[in-house]
């Protein structure tokens, strides 16, 4: 019996970890409520899919059920409703959390290699390929 309890405790231990502690408060008004204006709501959804949930980190706030993601969705919807543009809301969050909050890679001083390296590799591959093909065709011309 004791072994079973110890085993269950072991399984349950991660569940008690502080990162999973959550509040029992109801969600923010606009966390799960769509805006009445379908155009604004579409803008809000598009924006929410490009913002990272700070608690879960590998989900966008549109996909996450973490209370903080709900609070972020509330900010997005109520700010758009108040007349801010999606870019303004995005900037407001980036000012506070940096690039981290962006779930859509943007080109910046630290992220440019992400975009530059694939292009560079493609150029190198292209150059090598051209050289080889060029050599082969000149070889066959000589043989002919």
């Amino acid at each position: 019996m004791r072994v079973i309890i110890a085993f269950l405790a072991l399984i349950a231990a991660p569940l008690a970890s502080p990162t999973l502690a959550q509040s029992s408060m109801p969600p923010a008004p606009y966390a799960y409520t769509q805006l009445d204006d379908p155009v604004l709501e579409a803008e809000a959804t598009a924006l929410m899919e490009t913002l990272r949930c700070l608690k879960c980190q590998s989900q966008s706030i549109a996909d996450s059920d973490a209370p903080m993601a709900g609070d972020m969705r509330h900010q997005v919807r109520s700010r758009l409703l108040a007349g801010e543009s999606p870019d303004q809301v995005r900037d407001w969050l980036t000012q506070r959390y940096g690039d981290y909050v962006s779930y859509e890679p943007t080109v910046s001083a630290t992220t440019w290699p992400l975009f530059a390296i694939p292009v560079l590799l493609l150029l190198i591959v292209g150059a090598v390929l051209l050289r080889r093909l060029g050599r082969r065709s000149s070889d066959s011309e000589m043989g002919a």
Binding site: A16, S17, P18, T19, A21, Q22, S23, S24, M25, A28, P29, L54, K55, Q57, P67, M68, D71, M72, H74, Q75, L93, T94, Q95, R96, Y97, G98, Y100
Partner: protein, 174 residues
């Protein structure tokens, strides 16, 4: 074989090595706020429980630098930092609390059990202040100077060895 053919293999091994190494490293969960050395945003929060005042930006202006402690009664590390906040209070530091997504009766129960080092506690029911200040979890503690500027952010619970450091940061902010 010409050594140049080994380049792709070497690259592959390098990337596999980096990926393998990263897998063994604990996940970095601290997201530092970009609001350090900037003004504390305007905010005003209702009291988190009866009998204590709420919190606003104006409460930080004037006097000595203060601590802004973001916590919650449902947060386990907040229990661990309670005695160290108490010590900071005994050293004469004013600590203004913000209870995130919390109920008055839960706040009251927490303070009765673990002590109350706060001069005021605002209720942040929808993480408004958290998002304004760039906090990504509880607990977090900020040093705010008398002009209302954010001078330092401490992520996670305050441990015994952080008390001296925070006192120094408060000194620097004066």
């Amino acid at each position: 074989m010409r050594p140049v053919y080994l380049i792709p293999l070497a690259l592959f091994l390098f990337f596999a090595g980096v990926a393998g190494y990263q897998l063994t490293q604990p996940k970095q969960v601290n997201i530092p706020s970009q609001m350090i050395e900037r003004e504390l945003p305007e905010f005003s929060l209702e009291p988190a429980l009866e009998g204590m005042p709420g919190a606003s930006r104006a409460d930080f202006i004037g006097g000595k630098p203060k601590l802004l402690n973001i916590w919650a009664s449902w947060c386990v590390p907040c229990i661990a930092e309670a005695p160290h906040l108490e010590r900071l209070k005994q050293e004469g530091v004013e600590i203004i609390g913000v209870a995130v997504r919390d109920r008055p009766e839960a706040v009251e129960g927490f303070l009765a059990r673990y002590g109350n080092p706060y001069s005021r506690i605002g209720a942040d029911d929808i993480s408004e202040l958290m998002l304004e200040i760039g906090a990504s979890g509880v607990p977090e503690t900020y040093v705010i100077d008398a002009e209302g500027n954010i001078r330092y952010q401490h992520i996670g619970d305050i441990r015994e060895n952080h008390v001296e450091m925070l006192l120094e940061k408060l000194e620097e902010a004066a």
